[in-house]
Every structure is written in structure tokens, then in C-alpha cells.
Symmetry: C2
Subunit: 322 residues, 2 copies
């Protein structure tokens, strides 16, 4: 299988220049771990919540759309997603002035539907479970190009620009903590970090309740967790599983995977709000949770936690801040 | 009176390089004003809440301490403040490995006292009203150098680096909205913007309940509002008044001052949380409030609102997010 290269990540960065926010690395000197093993480690955040759509997803979606043949692109794009990928595709399509159709399950939160529409996309809501089939049929019917959320080299290369920026800003980084769901972000970041900072370790982070990749890498092959099991975690953005393509990257490049509990995710959201003044969604907080609560499972050193997104329901945020 | 020059701001930027976060400009395409006059305007945020101490204050305090003669600096520094300046001086002193004493009123919020101590400073709490006198006496007794929160050319030059970065990132900026309290940030930013983007307008923002500078600039001379009046605003960081030095800068460089209500400040905190995933303290939200609710008083065009800080009490944040 052909893996994404650092050259493809660099080319993606060129395309994203002026479109995505060049997020800074934020030192958090006051973030102390709950273990004695914290000695010698220090934390930086990579706040992808600051992207216009509130998550890193814009990098991959935009890169994929930018790489389409101009004629094909002009006919429009389509995606099925109820999450941050939907908004990323909608925003990118508007940038190019092309139609975007987003197929969402009919139980998607109102705020995500509205937000996707606000970027100019046509939202079609269908019963949950049907949305992949509907999207494929619509793509065919209208000549739209499907933009996958992670199972795509252009998407992985786009997400990899997060790693490119980390390597540029902190070349002496020792540990990069990255959330894993479909694996696009983790794959892209790992490609970039391993090419540019070969001595750094890239560690994936999953919720305990959706730890299919941790298990799969331990066993050496992909495993399939029932969707109902994965749906238990509060981290709604981490309920997907890697594709063959992303799993191949993770198997080759990741140095390990750690898991965090639901309570640890909630605590990390609190710490991020209080000590870094950043709003994180649960999926966005897992890497910080790993730093804070899984220090004994992690290498010591200069650590970057990728805060992948900040689109959290207002009620949930209020509850967690209590 | 000698005003701060753009060369002094540039020199400050050299000193701050690698110490302060180079905060990005964040586009907020979804921020729509509550007036029809919003046509043609667009908003970027300059999130100084992302500095290690949660506010721009680190820029001025660090620059002032860095400029001290080495021998004098080694004896230590002192400040009186219950707010973000306290943490900025404490953090900067630790960077240089020198003693720092912060004199705080004995009713200062516990969290600010703890946070200042966490940066290694000695905190001395005294009855409110006495803290300036105690600080002056202590400075004399221990040979410490007083670092003023705004009435100081080195502090103003440090805060001006915010303007330098705005000019570099958005040279075509039309409007810069900056909170005014003691006036150090507004003075420094105005020096930088007027030098580098002479066609841009710099507009100060005050709470209606602490609008001494708006009144003073209208009358052409400083006015003194009773401290009890100024204490009414929720924006606890905007209760100070300019000094002669900062007022002279504001009089020369500002294109206007607008005021915002307490409700508008609360609404802006909500908008910043939901649409930009940023936690703002009330003082940090006034510039955004001006953009959202005072559009008819502002020039049209590419607008930067400086989000000056994010140190908000958890209970207050929760209440506002409800």
C-alpha cells in the first residue's frame, strides 16, 4: 500500500497557506501531571480549535478539494458527516465557489446542521445508517465528488500539516500526542513528525470506550468494535475506526497508543478552560488528558498535545465546568 | 512630553521573541453585527488570552524588566496589582531568576493570589487602598524596582508589539478596536498601527460604567471618575484611568472611543465562546462587544478586535454561558 509522503504534506501546506490558521504552540507551564513521573516533562498545546470551523478538519478537506481537477471540482462536492468534517467541506466549497451537499443523520444536533448551512452548504437529513448510501447515490446523480473524512491520501496529507507546523515551531519535540478516530490526523501527523523529528515519539490517544486502534495495533491487525460500544464515549468525534489506509500508516509510524477514561476527558476540558483559556470538545481534550493522567505510560520530555477541536455543546460545557 | 516611538516598539519585539506567544489573527466569518451597518465589515480576533499568563500584560512587564540595568534587575522587582499585571511581573521575574514581590489588596480573589504565587512571586496582602504605599516602602527598603502596570514607556512599548503583529499579519487592516483602562495597551497599539498602517483607524473601547477616557478625550483633557463609579463594571481589568503619559498618547493617536454596556460585554463573552472557542474575561471581550453592537459608531472595513485577556472566574463564566 502506498503511504503518504512528507512531500505530499509539504505540498498540502502550500495549498493551505492563507486559508487555514497557522496555529501557534502554546506553552502551559502550570499543567502538572497527577503522577510523580511528571518530572522532566513539559506541555505545549497545538490548538486546532482556533481554525474557522473549530477543528483541524479544514486542513484535510480543503487540500482534497484543492487537488481536484478544475472541471470536476466545479460540479461540486459531497460528504456524509454530522461532525466537524461537514463544516470543513462546506467552508472549503464556499471558498472555491462550488456547490456542497452534506448528508447528515436526521438526529444530528441542530447546532451542527445550522452551522453547516451557515457555510452555504445544502444539508440533506436522512435516517441514521442510510446516510452513506444516500450520499453515494446523490454523488452519482449530480456528478458530485465525494470528500471522505479520512480514508484518502489528500485528506491525510492535509491533516499532516499540523505535524509540519509542530516540527517547525518545536524541532526538539520529544513526544506528540494525537487523538485517533478514523486515523487521518494521526496518520498525517506521524508522517510529518517521523520525517522531520525522527527521534520524537508519536503516541495516539483513544477513549477507553472506543479503543479499537489500541487493541488493533497490539494484535497487529485491525479489529472491529461494535458501533454501539464506540458510541458510549462522550468524545463524539472519536467513534470512527481507521480504514485500511490509515491503519497502515498508524502501524508503520505510531510508537504507541494510550487510552483515557471519560472522567479524565472531562477533567482535561476543565484544565484547558482554566489554565489555557481554550474551549475543547471532548474529542479535542483526549491528548491533554493523556498528558495529565497517563504520564507513567508516556515518554518523558517536551510534549505537544494536539487539541483537535472545540465544537462542544453549550450545555455540556457548562456541566463540565461546574 | 516624549511619546513612545515605533523603534521602541520594534526593540521590544526583539526582547519578547521566544518569550511571548506570537498570537495569530483569527478570522470569525460568522460574527454578524446586530445592525444593518454590518455590510462590508469583517472581524478578526487578536487572542492575547493565549499568552502564558492569560493576557497581553506579559509583553509590557517583560520588556520593562528586560530593559533594566543588569545589576539593578538582579536585586528584584515589585508591583502592586491584583490582576493580570501581577502574574505578568511574577512570570517575567522567574524567567530572569530574580525575586519578585507582588503587593495585593487583601480582598483579591484567591485564584489570582494562588496563580501569582505559582509563578514564584512573594505575595504580600494588605488592606485595599494601602497597597500602593506599602509597595513604595518595600521597594525602597529592599532595593526592588517598581514595574508600573501602564505609566511607563517600556511597558507601553511592550504592549505595542500587539499592534506590530497585527500590522504584519493584516497590513490592509481598516479598524483596530482596543480596550482602554490605564491606557498602556491602547497607547502602544496606536503607536504601532499609526506608524505602519497610517490609513487604519484605532478606536478605543470602554465600558459605559468606566468611560472616563471617552469623556476626557471629548473634553480635551483628563477627567477623574470616582473609583466607586468605575468599580461598577463587570470588566474588572478596565477600572483604572490613564496616566498623563498614556493619555497624551491616546489624545494624539486615537481616532475615537466607543462604549459598551454590561449586557453587551456578557453577550460578547458568549459569542467568543461559541463562535471562536475562546474564553474571554469581561475586560477582554469589550472590543468584540463594540464590533457586534456598536457597528453604527464604527468605520466599515476589515476590523481587528483585541481580545486582551481570558482570566475569568469559573462561576462567572458558567453564569454567562447559561
Amino acid at each position: 500500500m502506498e503511504l503518504v509522503t512528507i512531500e505530499e504534506v509539504r505540498a498540502a501546506a502550500e495549498r493551505l497557506n492563507g486559508v487555514t490558521v497557522r496555529t501557534p504552540l502554546l506553552p502551559v507551564p502550570s499543567a502538572s501531571r497527577n503522577q510523580e513521573s511528571s518530572e522532566g516533562s513539559s506541555l505545549w498545546l497545538k490548538p486546532e480549535s482556533l481554525q474557522v470551523v473549530g477543528a483541524f478538519k479544514l486542513r484535510g478537506a480543503f487540500n482534497a478539494i484543492a487537488m481536484l481537477d478544475r472541471n470536476r471540482r466545479s460540479r461540486g462536492v459531497i460528504a456524509f458527516s454530522s461532525g466537524n468534517h461537514a463544516q470543513a467541506v462546506a467552508y472549503s466549497a464556499r471558498h472555491f465557489g462550488i456547490p456542497a451537499v452534506i448528508v447528515m443523520p436526521d438526529n444530528a444536533p441542530r447546532i451542527k446542521v445550522d452551522s453547516t448551512r451557515s457555510h452555504g452548504a445544502e444539508v440533506i437529513q436522512v435516517p441514521i445508517g442510510d446516510h452513506a448510501d444516500v450520499a453515494v447515490a446523490l454523488a452519482e446523480e449530480r456528478g458530485l465528488t465525494m470528500i471522505p473524512p479520512y480514508d484518502d491520501a489528500a485528506v491525510i496529507a492535509g491533516q499532516g500539516t499540523v505535524g509540519l507546523e509542530i516540527a517547525a515551531d518545536l524541532p526538539e519535540v520529544d513526544v506528540v500526542l494525537v487523538p485517533i478516530s478514523g486515523g487521518g490526523l494521526a496518520a498525517g501527523v506521524a508522517v510529518a513528525i517521523k520525517a522531520l523529528c525522527p527521534s520524537a515519539q508519536v503516541i495516539g490517544v483513544e477513549p477507553e470506550l472506543a479503543a479499537d486502534t489500541a487493541e488493533g495495533l497490539r494484535l497487529g491487525h485491525q479489529v472491529d468494535w461494535p458501533v454501539d460500544d464506540r458510541a458510549r464515549t462522550i468524545a463524539d468525534g472519536l467513534r470512527a475506526q481507521p480504514s485500511e489506509l490509515t491503519f497502515a500508516h498508524l502501524r508503520k509510524f505510531l510508537d504507541g497508543v494510550v487510552t483515557v477514561s471519560e472522567d479524565e476527558i472531562r477533567s482535561a476540558i476543565q484544565v484547558l478552560a482554566r489554565q489555557a483559556r481554550l474551549i475543547a470538545e471532548p474529542s479535542g481534550a483526549v491528548a491533554t488528558a493523556a498528558y495529565l493522567f497517563r504520564g507513567h505510560d508516556l515518554p518523558v520530555g517536551k510534549t505537544v498535545a494536539i487539541l483537535s477541536g472545540g465544537n462542544i455543546d453549550a450545555d455540556l460545557l457548562r456541566t463540565i465546568l461546574t
